[in-house]
């Protein structure tokens, strides 16, 4: 299949959901699944198009939207504590938008089971993404056709390749993040606390239309050398470390990593900043090396390339050592989740990377780094959408104060 990858400036929610449902049902068919019952916030967003200001994960017993997708035709069912956030634009019929479900509470799990009996054909194969205790105890009601299978494979297969509208919404999420970062970078100065940067960032992202902050923003002061700590299980860099009230000092190297959500999409942002100083020649050299590694990876990035093609390019450009964090990856997908398939360069191993064949429309966040022990290092993230003959960039935030 060859199709040009385009990013509409005005993405359409209705069209996006139509396309997503088509993909989901194709994947359901491939996996022999008749009904999807989805509890994960990002999976619910994917299946229904609903989005809402995400809460602390510990509130899932109080507010947890649930989506139900059946094989065949028809819109999905949405159980939501925020019906007013669903009704307006989703185009779901009234009888498909239900009040809240409480799958984390026994009475709620049984009630959900009774509802499902009315909504979905009896005896079909059900796949779920989470099985809290109450749902297991209500298993006979919820899963009369036998134990449920994993919905992860189904949703994972559907969401791997983005539709044009998905790319459009995702790019808006990325732009909101980048526009909010500009005033934060202006604030960067000796004496400013890490949390002050977060304060400025949060103010700006919400004012610019973010639905939620999805990650406690990272403004990590990097050590000069690894021996300064903290201790790690692998002896490699400790990152990301939680933001505190630490005051920044002149010359500090700051690794920034943040993400917000918009229309159900996660953004990702990564740059290296310097506090009250211009980069030294050695720091400029780090940046040039980083750029060389990135360019080498991008040079082989296209539909049909494997994850291993990318890791090989990165290794070669970095002189044989791994230019990414041992506990993370060279690259990861981005969409309704802030890190989703495809993963490139993880501890899943080389054979796994060889099997990951990039497809046009897949989104990849590349995050190589350069560590120069004794002089800290440089790290930044690039977000690209894969095309048949290469990639298109979804971000354009400058590298200041590095580069020309």
């Amino acid at each position: 299949m060859t199709a040009a990858v385009t990013v509409p400036t005005e993405p359409d929610l209705g069209r996006m959901q139509h396309d997503r449902l088509t993909r989901l049902r194709h994947a359901m068919d491939q996996h022999g699944v008749d009904t999807l019952v989805l509890l994960g916030n990002s999976n619910v967003s994917y299946a229904t198009g609903a989005s809402w200001p995400l809460a602390d994960p510990g509130r899932a017993n109080v507010e947890r939207p649930v989506a139900v997708v059946t094989a065949g035709d028809g819109p999905p069912h949405l159980f939501t504590p925020f019906p007013e956030l669903a009704a307006a634009d989703l185009g779901l019929p009234e009888d498909h938008v239900h009040g809240p479900a409480y799958p984390e509470i026994d009475e709620g799990a049984r009630a959900l089971g009774r509802m499902l009996a009315e909504l979905v054909p009896a005896g079909g194969k059900v796949a779920v993404d989470e099985l809290p205790g109450p749902m297991r105890r209500a298993g006979e009601l919820l899963f009369p056709g036998g134990p449920p299978t994993s919905a992860d494979d189904v949703v994972g297969a559907a969401k791997l390749v983005k539709t044009p509208d998905e790319l459009g919404f995702l790019r808006t999420a990325l732009r909101i993040t980048e526009e909010a970062m500009a005033p934060v970078q202006v604030d960067l100065a000796p004496g400013v606390r890490q949390v002050d940067l977060t304060a400025r960032f949060l103010r700006a992202v919400f004012e610019q239309g973010a639905e939620a902050n999805i990650l406690d923003p990272i403004f990590q002061v990097m050590p000069t050398r690894l021996a300064e700590g903290p201790w790690t299980t692998h002896g490699d860099i400790a990152c990301p470390l939680v933001t505190t009230e630490q005051e920044l000092a002149e010359g500090d190297v700051i690794w920034v990593d943040t993400g917000i959500s918009y229309a159900g999409f996660s953004s990702d942002f990564g740059r290296t900043w310097l506090v009250g100083a211009d980069p030294t020649p050695r720091q400029q050299a780090q940046f040039r090396t980083w750029k060389d590694i990135l360019d080498a990876v991008l040079a082989v990035t296209r539909a049909g390339a494997t994850g291993a093609d990318l890791t090989r390019a990165a290794l070669a450009a970095a002189g044989g050592h791994k230019p990414w964090m041992e506990h993370f990856y060279l690259g990861h997908g981005l969409g309704v989740d802030s890190a989703e398939s495809p993963f490139v360069g993880t501890d899943l191993g080389d054979a796994y990377d060889e099997r990951q064949v990039l497809a046009a429309g897949t989104v990849l966040v590349l995050e190589p780094l350069v560590w120069d022990d004794g002089a800290s290092g440089y790290r930044a993230e690039e977000v690209v959408a894969i095309t048949d003959d290469g990639w298109i960039s979804l971000t354009d935030y400058p590298y200041d104060p590095y580069g020309d």
Binding site: P57, G58, D129, D196, R203, I214, T233, A238, E326
Partner: protein, 373 residues
Amino acid sequence: MATELLADDKALREARRRRALAEMEARDIDVLVLGREANARYVTGAQRLWTAGTRPFGPGCVVVRATGAVHLVSTWDAGVPEDIPHEHLFGITWNPGNLLAWLGGIDGVAQARRVGTDSLTPRFAKLLPKVFPSAELVDAEPALEAARRIKTLEEVEAIRASTAVAETALAAAVGGLRPGTTERHLTGVFMEAMARQGVTTPATQRAVRVAGPGDRSRGGTAAIGEGDLVVFDAGVVAGGYAAEVARTWPASPAALDDTAIDLYRSAGELWDRLIGACRPDTTGADLLGVYEAEGRPPPPFPIATGLGLGFDVPVVTRDLPATAARERLAPGMVLAVTAHAADGAGRAVVRKDAVLVTAEGPEVLSSSPHWRP
């Protein structure tokens, strides 16, 4: 928050861990395999990175009853208490095989007869029996829930501190309210004021909304009108503990009609009776009964929820009447209690406060001013 990444205070974490071990003992659970941050924080006192939204279950923390040892997925020791030695830390992994090998290699796991998890996925329902071939896999969330239900003295202090942060941020947002401003702007003001206090993690992120029909179509950008009722729903997570306080302010008091003023009166009466009912032996059904007695339908969301590290009980809502009837308040519980009065058009006055149940009666932990007619 401090200038360096610290684990929870020793007294706080030791009291919690003792309770968790006591519940394991009482329920004959040999090993806990925990995925939820609320539970991992409860037993470890470690501060890990906050993210918003639900997370699928995956093993991230293990407690072995026989040895009392706690093991944690963390690639570094920053934010990890000193009573969890380096050899009990396991680095972040993307490979389920590596995760299972770690689990299987933990001392005391091979002898376990009953292994409790705080949730599960179909995938781990298949994988975990490979690590614990002779153990029964049980739901441990009720054990953790029981441990977390009554707050220790240190936990109550942590919730007080978190509540103070929420209220200061709430006041900043209310200070920006005037006709013509937007939900987005005021939400930004709230979040900034929270972070300036050193707390960068919200509990809820729908911090400011016009309580009226059609708020979604506004997209948070439409100007707040003279007659609008604006709900400030302040939720923060400080030191791991959630605080929740909500107030409803008129955009322009002079523009309020009689119906809106009645809503304020009703919400005030509901609040008085709800808070008054927060004493030992009151049931969740009694709290719902307060709405009935006032002639107001309970809202379609919980009117009382436990506050703590997360997944707290009770959850009292009209949709779960049998659960509400069974839930009985006891000294040491901390609840977010909501009074909610709405008219037919969707306008509402909401008042939510944090309440500590004591033997003598309710102690309201929050003290934000509220608008009164």
